[in-house]
């Protein structure tokens, strides 16, 4: 077992592409779930709208990257309005069911053979990322950060990603200190009380859904550029559930909760993957218990168990405040 490789990989995972993507997705989800108490189970759909909005406009219709980004953002806003309008007047669990259904619709439509001319079907759409990398000011080469090494493309996409994470955190921090943010938190605590103060709760919830959706869509762009391809199964319900685990792990309704949560989440997964793989290679684990192929399944089980354990014993996560999470649907 080579522990230095294991820890280097975990460190790489903690600052890597997945962490950036899920930090952004979770920051958006934190606005929904942590601050407003909305049960959005379709965060993956916002990522998909952004990623595919970009990929289809650039690869299929040959539009410039910036226009593609605009279309992606517009797609996310429209999706939020479409989801929120019918459900935000209803009880919280309706939003949960509708958003998870909508996310599946979006995924199924993007992966359908019928539309594969535009979307690339289940193989996904590529050939759109060059516009982004052509503005890369970083010269060709390998860049190190401690024991880690990144190519100029990785360095560029990670710098853009972490900048977006920082800006999003700043935005959330300032908004949640503002009167607008206090109304959101009040809605989470007691909707009726807020309504009795004359606030339009419905409109505030819709604004929160749009804001969180747009923040989530940034994750969609980074997914698209970082992988240079968008695939429908990048945006499955599991993506949303991972983002939930991250929000709760880091601490809901905390500005940096999602970021710390994402880094820890991916570092832990990398650790378990690497330890299991190395233990397999060294022959500590017989094939009868675990084949190499099954390591990924252990990961799924661990995430599930982790989410349950967190929610039962430490719903406030690592840095949260328990009183902030006294949500209830009824």
């Amino acid at each position: 077992m080579d522990w230095s490789v294991i820890f280097t990989n975990a460190l790489a995972a903690a600052v890597g592409l997945e962490t950036v993507i899920f930090a952004l997705a979770a920051i958006g989800l934190n606005v929904h779930f942590g601050y407003t108490g909305l049960l959005n189970f379709g965060q993956a759909a916002f990522l998909a709208m952004a990623g595919y909005g970009l990929a289809i406009s650039v690869a299929t219709f040959g539009l410039p990257t910036l226009v593609g980004v605009g279309i992606g953002l517009l797609g996310a806003v429209l999706l939020a309005l479409l989801l929120g309008a019918p459900t935000l007047r209803l009880r919280a669990d309706y939003l949960a069911i509708v958003t998870i259904a909508a996310a599946e619709i979006v995924r199924l439509v993007f992966r359908s053979v019928t539309l594969s001319e535009y979307t690339g079907g289940s193989d996904g759409q590529g050939r759109f990322a060059e516009g982004f990398y052509s503005i890369n000011p970083i010269p060709v080469g390998t860049y190190g950060l401690g024991p880690l090494n990144f190519s100029e493309r990785q360095t560029f996409v990670l710098s853009v990603g972490w900048t977006l994470v920082a800006l999003s955190c700043l935005l959330v921090f300032m908004l949640m200190r503002s009167p607008w943010g206090r109304v959101l938190k009040a809605i989470r605590e007691d909707e009726d009380a807020v309504r009795s103060l004359g606030k339009n709760v419905y409109s505030y919830k819709l604004q929160s859904l749009v804001l969180g959706g747009v923040l989530g869509s940034l994750a969609g762009f980074i997914t698209a550029w970082g992988n240079a391809v968008v695939q429908p199964d990048n945006f499955s319900t599991e993506t949303t559930f991972y983002a939930y685990t991250i929000v709760i792990l880091g601490g809901a309704a905390r500005v940096f909760g999602p970021v710390v949560g994402a880094a820890i989440f991916w570092a832990l997964l990398s650790l378990t993957d690497n330890i299991l793989n190395q233990a397999k290679a060294a022959g500590y684990i017989p094939d009868a218990i675990l084949t190499g192929f099954q390591v990924g399944q252990v990961r799924l089980m661990l995430v599930g168990l982790g989410l349950m354990a967190l929610m039962i014993w430490r719903p406030q996560g690592l840095f949260g405040d328990r009183r902030e999470l006294a949500l209830d649907a009824r």
């Binding site: 209803l90 309706y94 199924l108 590529g126 939930y244 089980m301 995430v303 209830d328």
Partner: protein, 420 residues
């Protein structure tokens, strides 16, 4: 009639097979590969050729006895892959509206799968109106299975307020346990299914006892519990995948049953039994809810738990009964579902959202609403394939769910109440 349906399911299966097909592990270079299937049957001896953008042929292969073909490519780039339609068997053709030749890019090191959806020769495809009764019947079959799963989900929601995203995993459990006793232990499917239903019911009871009851005692919020159900679902799915693998496998018994022609519709005996069983079980549930003591108590708890408790009803006992019955019904739904399709680790997950659609459509928390809603969802998904592609039928059903919520949020049988 049967042909049209077989063509549709065949195409669907072809898609599924390709999704499940693992990349060829041996070749390190770029390949184009796939498998030709028609109605689940491999199609052998079909010539596939690959040409570059300039029209230069770079490879040719003939599908083997499993219908598979693999063509190695000299380098990454854009290629045109064509299927020679003259080599297809007489009764098989490329599905209508699909091309026998596809141009696509292949990335460095990519082993890219190519899909040629096959179906019966288009000459035999019947008109839409002719297919309607058959699709409606299949929809009814599917809807009744969904209803079995939905009744439990709805009752659990009604009595405890818990939105259980792990309910699909109980459905899967039924399918997999029945598979275990049928294919591995070697029992006939009927006793295997009975054991599976009992195990599922026991699991439901145990789940309530070990997990949900302590959480209720602790006063955990409903939203927190909802997130716990998601964790449980992820865990269970990972566990099934670990034990069962990613493929889907059929039961030993009742696999290939010819459908009996009944005038406008055709029905395999196993489907008739499935529908009969579903109706019987649902009638039993209805009878229990309306006429028995425990059923009446269940409805009382669903209506107002505090009032029910104060009038002497043992609420916890009602809830565990609901869990046991609901899980047993869900397991049964899984077995019947796997009988029509095949058992896989996501048998339940695949229908979970449709179950939710049925429950919500009928009105959250009402047992009879769940029944009506589920049947409506089942019929709608199947019949909608007349106008929308089969692969999008689930998306269509979910879209209808969202639309219904716009106009009648309390569902078909739900009671209107002020909800915010």
């Amino acid at each position: 009639m049967r042909h049209a349906v077989r063509a549709a399911t065949g195409a669907l299966l072809a898609v599924l097979c390709l999704l499940l097909l693992p990349g060829a592990a041996t070749a390190a270079g770029e390949t184009l590969q796939g498998a030709l299937r028609n109605g689940g049957e491999p199609v052998e001896g079909v010539t596939i050729t690959v040409t570059t953008a300039d029209g230069e042929q770079v490879g040719e292969d003939e599908t083997d006895e499993t219908g598979a073909f693999v063509i190695e490519l000299p380098e990454a780039g854009e290629y045109t892959i064509s299927l020679d339609e003259d080599t297809l068997p007489d009764d098989v053709a490329i599905r209508e509206g699909r091309s026998a030749s596809v141009t696509l890019p292949v990335n460095v090191g990519q082993q890219r799968s190519v899909l040629f959806p096959l179906g019966e020769s288009s000459r035999e495809v019947r008109s839409d109106l002719d297919r309607l009764p058959q699709l409606a019947l299949e929809g009814l079959n599917f809807g009744l299975i969904i209803a079995l799963a939905a009744v439990g989900l709805s009752l659990i929601y009604g009595t405890t307020g818990l939105v259980n995203f792990a309910h699909g995993e109980l459905v899967t459990l039924g399918a997999l346990v029945a598979y275990f006793f049928n294919a591995i232990v070697g029992l006939q499917l009927v006793p295997a299914a009975i054991i599976a239903v009992l195990i599922c019911a026991a699991m439901g009871g145990a789940q309530d006892f070990v997990l949900w009851r302590p959480l209720r005692r602790k006063g955990t919020g409903l939203i927190a519990m909802l997130v716990v159900t998601i964790g449980l679902a992820l865990f269970a799915r990972g566990f099934y995948l670990y034990l069962f693998g990613g493929g889907s496998r059929p039961y030993v018994d009742y696999q290939l049953q010819p459908a009996t022609d009944l005038g406008p519709v055709a029905l395999a005996p196993k489907d008739a039994v499935t529908m009969g069983l579903c109706v019987l079980m649902l009638l039993l549930v209805a009878f229990a809810l309306l006429r028995t003591r425990i059923g009446k108590a269940t409805r009382a708890v669903a209506d107002n738990p505090a009032l029910a408790a104060s009038s002497g009803i043992d609420v916890e006992r009602v809830i565990s009964t609901v869990w046991i019955a609901g899980a047993g019904l869900a397991g049964m739904a899984g077995i019947l579902l796997a009988l029509g399709q095949q058992a896989s680790f996501q048998t339940g997950f695949q229908i979970l959202l449709l179950v939710f659609a049925g429950v919500t459509l009928g009105g959250l928390g009402t047992a009879f609403g769940a029944l009506v809603g589920s049947v409506a969802v089942g019929v709608f998904t199947q019949v909608s394939t007349l106008v929308i592609p089969t692969e999008l039928k689930n998306a269509g059903a979910l879209a209808v769910l969202i639309l219904i919520l716009l106009f009648r949020p309390q569902g078909i049988l739900g009671r209107a109440e002020r909800v915010g």
